[in-house]
Symmetry: C2
Subunit: 169 residues, 2 copies
């Protein structure tokens, strides 16, 4: 463990949950807060720091917010929990609905960042964005291009330094 | 676990070893084979595939090789093993020395790729490069810029789909 932040011991759980259920990515700009479901990401150690890499498509409300925010949180439910809520948050846009109200999700104040975490989840990561980059479509495997980006709605990568990680409940 | 490839169950070990010892990144182009030490990277689930993200600086011999190769392998020693060899492979260039000979490292044929793994290691990942990208210095946290890139020798990111992962010995 480095930087007094837990990440390696949670990594298996993070990767399992991303692939088999998903996590909530929460972003706050001023008084606007939104959360979305993510199923893809990485956990690592880069530049001597524990990091989470997330991917957000241009079309997303979260993309607009992340471009203005310098931080984000990722909250994971227990296995097989909040599946309905993750599905709703993945299929609907925060531009049109209040996901917290619709899904009865509540917010818990972040410990190290101004962005809250999702109270109904049990594992949380608070991240400061230290790098962000658009995808270069021409550098991507053609099969992935065909499978994931037929509509040209590419992802932007955000690498966040994990500055707090903890379990609740 | 997805795609019948182990990654989440190895992730804690990978992140520990990257931060506290390092791993060997091996690349092969034609009859040229080189290995280098890496201490930074990520393990994740992106585009529905298990992935390893590695970072290689422009100045590296491995960078030249990776640009021509479509694959790479990452081999991890047991904790506290091969520290001298990792240090040597991190400090010397394959352009000038035969690291395998100097470090008495031997090669083991890859199971799914043409690139070998390091026989003296015990955990191996065979990867197919599915995305690669240069860093955009202007999008990086200024503190990291100052700490890691004073000489402008930036990293290039390579995301490899993990197509085989296994223990030996």
């Amino acid at each position: 463990m480095r930087n007094d932040v837990a990440y390696n011991e949670y990594s298996g759980e993070v990767l399992d949950q991303l692939a088999d259920g998903g996590a909530f990515l929460t972003v706050k700009v001023g008084d606007k807060i939104n959360t979305m479901a993510i199923g893809w990401g990485s956990i690592g150690y880069m530049w001597g720091k524990p990091v989470l890499t997330i991917m957000v498509r241009y079309s997303r409300h979260t993309y607009d917010l992340l471009e203005k925010a310098g931080e984000f949180t990722v909250s994971l439910p227990k296995t097989d929990q909040l599946k309905k809520e993750l599905l709703f948050c993945g299929r609907n846009s925060g531009r049109e609905v209040d996901k917290f109200k619709e899904c009865s999700l509540t917010l818990l104040e972040g410990k190290k960042v101004a962005t809250p975490v999702i109270k109904e989840c049990t594992l949380h990561f608070e991240c400061k964005t230290i790098y962000r980059q658009v995808m270069e479509p021409g550098l991507l495997d053609p099969e992935i291009q065909e499978d994931c980006y037929k509509n040209h709605d590419y992802h932007r990568f955000y690498i966040g330094e994990i500055i707090a990680s903890y379990r609740t409940a």
